[in-house]
């Protein structure tokens, strides 16, 4: 991760910069999560210095931003591979990277040190817009739009200039929707229902439509790159996944419109389309394993040991296939139907689903892409797992699964006590949070959060060292083969 020496294209060198910032923000996200987790157990911790509301805000905003950095990095990395061309406006692209990084740094520092402002336009412009996940102040919002326009120009114009593969076609169309949807979170209305209505257009249509299609596109690219899977087959799968993801995901938006004051027909629409949302996740799961098995079979038939040329990346992509299904699929389906959601809405069930879905569906594949980029940056032919790779995989997956189970138990207790028994009132909210099931579950969540953080340390350490170690080993093997 420390060098880009073997990369031929400036676009891919720029991708490495994006990945470096992404991994730093990932660490910041986890630290903020740990602070928030401690505050669940000890509400006095950092009280009036760094309140839970602020820690949680930085935690979820850092999550979104590190993922966007890694996504932009992934696209810059794949552009030359897919189109056969250097990004057309690479100079602008580099400028946009530094502008975005500087803006994000300023915004994070404002979140941490200024935190809140008066109920005025000034606060919206310079401190915090007050929209969950999209708290960036308006100046940064506009800056993000400009940076994304530059990024999108690079993607679109390079695509038009070079080879137009199916993967890039999906990517170009999907990024247009992804970038355009951000605009829905940039204006305010006087009506809270309307405000929430548009806000969900960003959040839901990102994470359950455009981001999922993005993941499908990355997985398709990675399968060709890592396994040598046949492009025609991979792209056919991708088109089917796109159809199913958009087919279920767009109107699946209805499950966020159950209780915000929108018309009642959203109950039926949300329920039906949400119920279909796991289907493409099964398809993606099957697709990855199918290609892996098929290419492995081809390799063995030719007498080769195995098909994978980057084991860490493949492990994270396999984790993505399973984690996406588990976190977004099972934990989402748990509580997506309105009859159940009326009891689970806003409990720790949502937090359990959020943690496993974001990790399983997005963090995993973006980490996989980082390993792919490191392989290219160090000019390594075959990258194998190190002890640190295995430790990071095990600790992060075990930690996030542990957090999810703990939060599910806390949410289940809330559903029974706060909602079903006590009717969901103000007192019920506090009574449910003082019972042992809830408190002990939160304690376990903190423990598992620490396990996850330990895994992150291994991950960062591995990303910094694996390229150099593997390149040195390969060079030594090459020299030994020459000497023989």
């Amino acid at each position: 991760m420390l060098t880009s020496a073997h990369l031929k294209y400036e676009s891919q060198k720029l991708a490495m910069n994006y990945f470096r910032v992404a991994i730093v923000l990932f660490g910041a996200q986890l630290l903020m999560g740990l602070i928030a987790a401690i505050q669940f157990l000890y509400p006095g911790f950092l009280f009036e210095l760094f309140d839970f509301s602020v820690a949680r805000m930085v935690h979820i905003n850092a999550l979104v931003v590190w993922m966007l950095f890694a996504m932009i990095g992934s696209v810059y990395y794949m552009i030359p591979d897919e189109t056969g061309e250097e990004a057309v406006a690479i100079g602008l692209g580099k400028l946009a990277f530094w502008v975005l990084t500087a803006a994000v740094t300023v915004v994070v520092l404002v979140y941490i040190f200024i935190q809140v402002g008066s109920a005025s336009e000034t606060t919206i412009w310079f401190i915090n817009e007050g929209r969950e996940y999209l708290e960036a102040p308006r100046w940064a919002d506009i800056g993000i739009v400009v940076v994304v326009l530059i990024f999108y120009w690079n993607v679109f114009a390079t695509y038009m200039k070079g080879r137009r593969t199916g993967i890039m076609t999906v990517m170009v169309a999907n990024l247009f929707a992804l970038a355009g949807l951000y605009l829905c979170g940039m204006f305010f209305t006087d009506n809270i229902s309307m405000d929430q209505y548009w806000w969900w257009w960003v959040i839901h249509l990102w994470v359950e439509a455009t981001w999922e299609v993005f993941v499908g596109t990355l997985a398709a690219y990675a399968l060709i790159k890592i396994l040598g899977a046949k492009r025609e087959i991979v792209e056919m799968w991708l088109w089917i996944e796109v159809l199913m993801l958009f087919g279920s995901g767009i109107l699946g938006l209805g499950h966020h419109y159950f209780w915000i004051g929108t018309p009642e027909y959203w109950w039926e629409i949300g329920a039906l389309f949400s119920a279909l949302e796991p289907v493409p996740l099964v398809a993606m799961f099957v697709h990855v394993l199918y290609d892996w098995g098929k290419e492995q079979g081809h390799c063995e038939a030719k007498g080769n040991a195995h098909a994978i040329n980057n084991t860490p990346a493949m492990a994270w992509i396999a984790a993505n296939a399973f984690g996406n299904f588990l976190g977004a699929g099972i934990w989402g389906f748990f509580h997506t139907l309105p009859q159940v959601n009326i009891y689970t809405h806003g409990t720790q069930f949502t937090a359990a689903h959020g943690h496993l879905a974001f990790f399983g569906a997005y963090a995993t594949i973006l980490i996989g892409m980082m390993y792919l980029a490191v392989q290219g940056a160090y000019g390594v032919k075959t990258m194998k797992m190190t002890f640190k790779t295995k430790m990071s995989l095990f600790l992060i997956i075990f930690g996030v699964l542990g957090m999810t189970v703990a939060l599910t138990i806390a949410g289940y207790e809330q559903v029974l006590v706060e909602r079903a028994d006590l009717g969901g009132g103000w007192d019920a909210f506090f009574i449910a949070q003082e019972l042992p099931w809830y408190v002990q579950a939160q304690a376990w969540r903190l423990v598992m959060g620490l396990v996850t953080f330990a895994g992150f340390v291994y991950l960062a350490w591995d990303l910094l060292t694996i390229g150099k170690v593997t390149a040195t080993e390969e060079a030594a093997e090459g020299m030994a083969a020459q000497a023989a």
Partner: protein, 113 residues
């Protein structure tokens, strides 16, 4: 005017069953897809497809049971079961498309970059 509440009342002891059955819907669904996929790929014998169909029957029953437990309207229950019938054909449609693609691109070079 008294507001009308359409949402069902669910008893406390019903929730665990609802969450378990909802999970089983997806677990059996993956079991069905896995059995069909692995047998089509030749990792397991074709007889295992029968096990896949048993998974599908269990999945369909679990979804029906879930719809009953959460007091879905008859229309929603019907739509969910129609979706289940569509899901029965989904893996076969996949592999039909894959087989056709393989035939079509047999002579094409591998997609190595």
């Amino acid at each position: 005017m008294e507001p009308v509440i359409y949402m069902p009342q669910i008893a406390s002891d019903q929730f665990l069953g609802i969450f378990v059955v909802a999970t089983l819907v997806l677990v059996f669904g993956v079991g069905f897809a896995a059995a069909i996929t692995l047998s089509k790929m030749g990792f397991i014998s074709r007889r295992w497809q029968l096990v896949g169909y048993i998974f599908w029957i269990l999945q369909a029953y679990s979804l029906y049971d879930l719809a009953v437990r959460i007091q879905s309207s008859p229309f929603t229950t019907k739509v969910l079961l129609v979706a289940m019938v569509a899901y029965l054909f989904a893996p076969h449609l996949y592999f039909y498309l894959i087989d056709e693609s393989e035939k079509r691109y047999e002579s094409a070079n591998d997609g190595q970059l």
